[in-house]
């Protein structure tokens, strides 16, 4: 399994949200997609999910151009955004039943119950999604993608709404998923968490990739290398623009570990 992204660009109106992004991913990769707000992380995920059209560039998955096109190709992509992609006025169980049937993975009632139980929602199975907290909705999304088992799993800032046990649940799911030879891409600002499970980190700045770090040595050196990239501007020096505007150096402090 191989995902090739070449010169991928996306413009919204006159401004480029993403410019000439190029990378290759193989089975078992767990990628951290990092960068400050507006860096282009969500745009990358939406392009890979086929939810927006690329302005230029190409995505090749297993030798086939794009992740769109035939309906069979779409089914391989999972997209987890906390609190989204669930119907508020359906119960947790009905949401899972609907989406598994839509993906033609007709799961039995016991499979759905097991998935709900695995994410700690067994008692809330018959409650409307509108009545669930944000963390519970995120757990329900995890249960959904566990059942659907996508080949490419995309996650947009999944940590913000989860408690400690929820984070553990999510990370176990992602690690198991990669162990099965799937590809996972997580866009997040929670560096400490996301770098702990990632095999590689791609750093974006204003729509351009400024670093592609692989975890070859210890976690500490991996973290330090990524942090160094986040402090740098696209030209390799200190972010002069930010320094000039705000009177301080580097990216927002919340981004640094």
């Amino acid at each position: 399994m191989r995902l090739i992204v070449r010169d991928l660009s996306k413009a919204y109106g006159l401004s480029w949200a993403l410019k000439d992004l190029t990378f290759d991913l193989t089975a078992g990769d767990l990628i951290a997609l990092l960068g400050s707000n507006g860096a282009g992380k969500t745009t990358v995920l939406k392009l890979l999910a086929g939810l927006v059209h690329a302005t230029s560039g190409k995505i090749v998955f297993d030798g086939k151009p794009g992740l769109r096109g035939e309906s069979g190709e779409r089914s391989i992509v999972g997209f987890l955004t906390p609190g989204e992609h669930l119907y508020d006025n359906l119960t947790a169980r009905e949401n899972l039943k609907f989406f598994t049937a839509l993906y033609d993975r007709n799961c039995s009632a016991s499979e759905i119950d097991t998935a709900l139980s695995d994410v700690g929602l067994a008692r809330r199975a018959n409650e409307y999604v509108a009545a669930l907290s944000s963390g519970m909705k995120c757990r329900l999304s995890i249960a959904k993608w566990k059942l659907l088992d996508p080949v490419l799993m995309l996650l947009d800032e999944p940590y913000g709404v989860l408690d400690a046990s929820g984070v553990e649940l999510l990370e176990n799911f992602l690690c198991d998923h990669c162990a099965k030879g799937r590809i996972v891409i997580i866009a997040s600002h929670h560096l400490e968490r996301v770098l702990a499970i990632s095999s590689r980190a791609i750093v974006l700045n204003q729509g351009k990739m400024i670093s592609d770090q692989r975890r070859q040595q210890s976690w500490e050196s991996f973290k330090t290398a990524v942090n160094d990239c986040l402090r740098m501007d696209p030209n390799g020096g200190i972010d002069k623009q930010r320094e000039g505007k705000n009177g301080r150096q580097g990216p927002a402090p919340s981004l640094l570990v």
Binding site: A49, H53, S71, R74, H85, Y87, D104
Partner: protein, 225 residues
């Protein structure tokens, strides 16, 4: 078969959501009834012109009522970005179109089943035996309205003032359907038979078939543009 299975899933989901929210059907029902009363008090229709005037009034009520339903058709999918979830899924875009159009058709048919007898009583129409044929024509017209309406509703989904733009885009395209439905209804109310209006019926059926086919074929492009 896959298309029909996926369309029925989407229809089931929409019906379940509507059953719980009861927003569209209640709004449509009350608006349709209200329009009938307004027409009843505004127009003093003489018995000899009933067949000429009342079909237009009835169809007008259904058109305005249906537009209300269309405006909300994709509203649910925009909440929580559920449309993205549908687009991400292995679902045929044609199935999404058929599911949404059937849902809107069912809502309108429900409203019509209640509103039409009321119309009969308010306008003192005596020929109750014509009602089944009239229902047939109204349902054919409603089908055309729903397929074209679903297409236009999806096209204007991301527009800022979509509730205003939708009728402006929809009604000009709907002119052949409006004329055909009214002419067929008029012929049935007058004589109980289609007679000369058979050509209008063919136009009505042709309109339904063409836009149903076009919708299934191009919905992929419409919804993802």
């Amino acid at each position: 078969m896959v298309l029909l299975k996926q369309a029925s899933l989407i229809l089931w989901k929409d019906l379940l959501l509507e059953l719980r929210r009861r927003e569209s059907v209640l709004t449509m029902f009350f608006f349709g009834t209200l329009l009938l009363f307004v027409f009843h008090f505004a127009f003093d229709v003489p018995p000899q012109t009933i067949a000429e005037l009342t079909p237009a009034l009835l169809w007008l009520a259904f058109l305005f009522t249906g537009t209300l339903g269309l405006a909300q058709l994709f509203g649910l999918e925009k909440e929580n970005r559920c449309l993205d979830a549908l687009l991400l899924a292995q679902v045929d875009r044609g199935a999404l179109f058929v599911g949404k159009a059937s849902f809107n058709f069912l809502l309108m048919a429900l409203v019509e089943i209640v509103v039409m007898p009321l119309f009969w009583i308010l306008f003192n129409l005596r020929s109750w035996t014509h009602m089944p044929a009239l229902f047939g024509i109204v349902f054919l017209g409603t089908l055309g309205f729903c397929v074209l309406g679903t297409l236009m509703s999806a096209t204007t989904m991301t527009a800022r003032a979509r509730e205003l733009i939708l009728p402006l885009v929809l009604f000009p395209l709907m002119i052949p359907l409006i004329l055909a439905t009214i002419r067929c209804m008029e012929a049935i109310l007058r004589t109980g038979q289609l007679g000369d209006a058979a050509a209008w019926l063919r136009l009505l059926i042709g309109f339904d078939v063409i836009f149903l086919t076009v919708g299934v074929l191009i919905f992929d492009w419409v919804v993802e543009a």
